[in-house]
């Protein structure tokens, strides 16, 4: 007697369901791919660096699509652009002033032809004419927003209000301090009277090494001060609101949201001063849509109210001549940098970075491991 096992009506097995979902996917994937290239300008930017108003305005005015790829920080962006250096997929990328040297040496960005930007004069000359923006006399990028290293503290827990980087080493706050190692090495150098721009050590690498070593050793010796090191602003925010840190060195936009929300934090530029970092848009070497890139940059610079729009969406003071216009007082307090503070801020230069970056990278590793 022959028995046939009749498979039940398992028409819809689990695998089939997953397969169905999977097969619907190519339509989405291929669609996404085709929507790609024709007539667009491709930007690798941090979140908020291209205000929505600018994007809409440009697309309406020129019919060219603006495509944005998000980067969260310089390190992964540098890795990504390095891997595609010989065949770039980006026209414009975000470069922080302190990393300009790395991007230039890696052959990722090219000098900017400012003659093609009619609205170049809308940028505050402090940035537009700055030394650090130039390599061999050529402007390398369009400065957009400026931040600096600041000292942030919980006004309830940290008294009296500090005015020096030395407060970070006060054992009263042991285990409740946090910082970004790379940036804080430079701030410590300021505290120790050294030159974090490395300009005075040019031609004297031994002196530069000694200065870095002094800062590094101080950090290693005072490691018990630290609850942890952080890399991202969101980590710092959680540490501050969660109460695990009361004192921190950070970049200036990280505490802004907290201050805006009325939480008890203040940020200052200490008396010794601080290092600025300016975020710029640079044109990528071998960019596939170079003309569109220049058109975009020019339209962006010419957008009325760009300063305030950039500040609100990116969280930093802008580099525009009309930077403060349109911002409310509390926004200015949360995002802006006052005249006094600006006076104490220094900028790194290309030559200085060439000397410092290898030394600093190594010192960061040593602090992390020590």
């Amino acid at each position: 007697m022959r028995m046939s096992i009749q498979a039940p009506h398992k028409a819809v097995t689990r695998r089939a369901m997953l397969a169905g979902a999977g097969l619907a996917a190519p339509a989405i994937l291929l669609g996404a791919r085709r929507a790609a290239a024709a007539g667009s300008v491709n930007i690798t930017a941090y979140d908020g660096f291209v205000p929505q108003a600018v994007q809409t305005h440009f697309e309406a005015a020129t019919g060219t699509q603006v495509r944005i790829r998000l980067a969260a920080s310089q390190a992964p962006e540098l890795s990504l652009l390095t891997t595609e250096r010989d065949h770039p997929l980006t026209d414009i990328c975000t470069v922080v002033g302190a990393r300009l040297h790395q991007f230039v040496d890696a052959g990722i960005i090219e000098p900017l032809d400012t003659a093609r930007l009619k609205n170049w004069s809308r940028i505050n000359p402090i940035y537009a004419d700055a030394d650090w923006l130039r390599v061999n006399g050529s402007v390398m990028a369009v400065p957009l927003v400026i931040g600096a290293n600041v000292l942030v503290f919980d006004t309830h827990e940290v008294t009296p209000a500090p005015d020096s980087w030395g407060a970070m080493f006060d054992t009263k706050y042991k285990g409740r301090v946090t910082y970004d190692i790379e940036d804080f090495l430079l701030c410590t150098m300021l505290l120790q009277g050294a030159d974090p721009t490395f300009v005075s050590y040019l031609g004297n690498p031994a002196q530069a090494q000694a200065a870095v070593n002094a800062a590094r050793d101080k950090l290693i010796a005072s490691k018990p001060q630290v609850v942890r090191f952080f890399d991202e602003g969101s980590e710092l925010q959680q540490m501050l609101t969660g109460g695990d840190a009361v004192l921190a060195q950070t970049y200036s936009s990280a505490p802004s949201r907290l201050i805006l929300a009325g939480q008890p934090f203040r940020r200052i530029v200490p008396d010794e001063g601080s290092l600025a970092f300016v975020y710029n848009f640079a044109v990528v070497k071998g960019a596939p849509n170079k003309d569109a890139a220049y058109a975009f940059l020019d339209v962006m610079l010419g957008t009325p109210g760009l300063g305030a729009a950039l500040t609100r969406s990116a969280g930093y003071a802008s580099s525009m001549l009309d930077a403060g216009r349109g911002l409310t007082d509390i926004e200015q307090a949360a995002y802006g940098l006052d005249e006094d503070a600006l006076g104490r801020i220094r900028f790194a230069t290309y030559e200085g970075q060439a000397l410092s970056s290898a030394l600093i990278d190594k010192a960061v590793e040593e602090v992390r491991a020590g």
């Binding site: 022959r2 009749q6 039940p8 695998r15 999977g22 994937l29 890795s79 997929l89 969101s234 925010q237």
Partner: protein, 274 residues
Amino acid sequence: MRPNWLTPAAYWVAVAVLMLPLGLIALTSLTDATLVGFPLGRPSLRWYVAALADPANGRAFLLSVGLAGLSAVLAVAAGTWIALATRIMRPAPRLLLLAGTLVPLVTPGIVHAIGLRIAIQFVGLDPGPIAMLLGHTVHATPLAAIMVGARLTTTAPGLMDAARDLGAGPVRAFLHVQVPWLRPAMVGAALLSALNSFDDFVRSFFLGGYQPTLPVLIFGRLRSGLTPEINALSTLILAASVGMAAIIAWVVRPRKVVIRDPEGTFMAPCASRP
């Protein structure tokens, strides 16, 4: 098996504990404050409205889902094929094949991602959805190969022969006898692959083009700080996934297997094992 009370209790406790962090994410999103943290602000749905209103969120979600589904299917297919091939290979080549299969699993994410990014240049593939699909599939294949392979070794030795003796051709025997035996492992592997793909950040970042997946989008936004909108978005996705899973589970609910012979002399229903 007589169930005791301890393991069911442990199960429900585990579910509660695993859900707890998600509960926190949802809780901190139902606020009108601009910050995530305690104390909570006033209850409000404004961030859910904002998350739903942003078209970038929807596009990223669809891309992530599409990649997850497709890469899971491809990874399970590849993993099963590899597992089957190892069964009929001699010990030395089998070991080599297994070792090679495992490589993507052992490599740390960022290293694998950069390696893939460089490797695809050799075949002229540009970063984008296809490259991401490749990356996710390659990442998930080792898991699938191992899970299916482990299940495969427990196949009753004479099973396939019995099927062939009963008149089934090789393909039919495979599909109707071997595959059902492997199905729990395949389902588990598909689930895990889909989840890994959906969650994956580092491969999607390096292999992606200008359309971000959800994790890449969220990561980019995290720089400015954790916002209730990000939490609202995640809660929405969780709800959508649970809903989808519930629908799938209902559609593929197990049904009875009926054994029937042509003469109709013997008919017996028996509960199937899913």
